[in-house]
Amino acid sequence: MEIGQYTDTLEDYSLISKDTPLISNLNMLENIALIKEVHELLSIEKAENIAKESLEKIGLSHIGLNRLNQCSSLEVFYVMFIRALMSRDMNVIITTPFFLISNLRDIQPILDNIEILNTHKNIFIFDNITNKSHYEGSSCPIVK
């Protein structure tokens, strides 16, 4: 199935892909907090506290003040995911995580952290069929 065919069926979704990078002149906390500051008019302090709490949940509180070039691709991916959770959209779409995260071998630790962070949203991972073997045995259902 093509991604466009699927996303057309969803009313609202936040996208995590190479086409939605983090904002380079903001640090990680600011990148996450921005969504709530704009959409929920939260103060910067409150929004950044929420962002900090989310990073703490997966043991990444130390990267809060880092800029994009100071983080690994895995850290950037988690920040992108937390940012997606901050929006009001009920669906989160992750495209080609093996492309976004360099040297990723096992998807399961990522799925575990996604579970820790996410409480109520629908998460969809889109990937190429060639990466199918990476998902076999993981905790998420595979749909072709």
């Binding site: 939605t20 904002i23 704009v38 939260l42 910067i44 940012r83």
Partner: protein, 262 residues
């Protein structure tokens, strides 16, 4: 051959008119957002504060030094010429017109264009090429409210306030030269300036600073937004943006001179 030539002229004319219309539309959209209270969300206010800091505050030491050096030299030349041509009785209005109406806003606009205009043009073009603008669109963050408006407002505030500082420094150094060339005491100098200054001069300073501030930020933003998708498009975008900005600054200056002469 002739048909092709006429076609190419028509094509270029249509292209120019179309881009002029787009630029005008963008200007009006920005102005509309400027007067909409909902544009001023916490994220926008934070960017605005940072922009004012980077555009107006960090430049102050350099700006004061340049205002003192350039301002003193130029006001010295003006006063020397006025004395040479026996225009001592007009010295007040000469200084006020030259410093407040013309030189301060123009010089400030040029300096801010060189420093912040280029930076903003590059920043927006890089964000465009890196698809960061796409991220903001995807997360339904209004580009005008979050990115453009703080920069435009900071430009207006910065150029207006720095023009006033520049004028004050120039008027102060003017005293040194009147003392040297005309042996004038401070009280007389102050009286001459107060008698020469009119509300019209302050309005001109304010309006010109507003226009310069708006153009100095809007044109680089628009140019950055129109940059292509490759990194090689960034220098071209900055180059085009700066040329357009300098033309706009000179146009504003000429327009203000024309309006004043009416």
């Amino acid at each position: 051959m002739i048909v092709k030539f006429i076609e190419s002229i028509g094509d270029k004319t249509l292209g120019t008119l179309s881009s002029f219309y787009e630029a005008l539309k963008f200007t009006f959209i920005c102005l509309a957002h400027m007067v909409t209270p909902s544009s001023y969300n916490p994220a926008m206010r934070m960017v605005l504060t940072k922009q004012i800091y980077f555009t107006a505050v960090t430049i102050i030491p350099l700006f004061v030094m340049m205002a003192f050096i350039f301002g003193s030299v130029i006001i010295g030349v003006v006063i020397a010429l006025a004395t040479q041509y026996n225009l001592q009785d007009k010295i007040g209005s000469i200084i006020i017109t030259f410093v407040i109406d013309e030189f301060s806003p123009f010089f400030t606009a040029l300096l801010i264009s060189l420093r912040s205009g280029t930076a903003i043009n590059t920043e927006i073009a890089v964000m465009n090429v890196n698809k960061e603008l796409n991220t903001l669109r995807q997360y339904k963050i209004d580009l005008i409210d979050y990115l453009f408006l703080p920069r435009i407002i900071s430009g207006i505030i910065s150029i207006t306030s720095l023009s006033i500082i520049f004028a004050l420094i120039m008027l102060s150094s003017g005293y040194v030269f009147t003392l040297l060339y005309m042996n004038m005491d401070l009280h007389t100098y102050k009286t001459i300036l107060i008698n020469a200054i009119e509300v019209k001069d302050l309005i001109i300073l304010l309006l010109k600073s507003l226009a310069f501030g708006f153009a100095t930020m809007l044109i680089p933003i628009y140019s950055g937004l129109k940059a292509g998708a490759a990194y090689t498009a960034i220098p071209i975008s900055v180059l085009n943006g700066m040329v357009k900005l300098f033309i706009a600054i000179f146009l504003i200056e000429v327009l203000s001179l024309l309006i004043q002469s009416l």
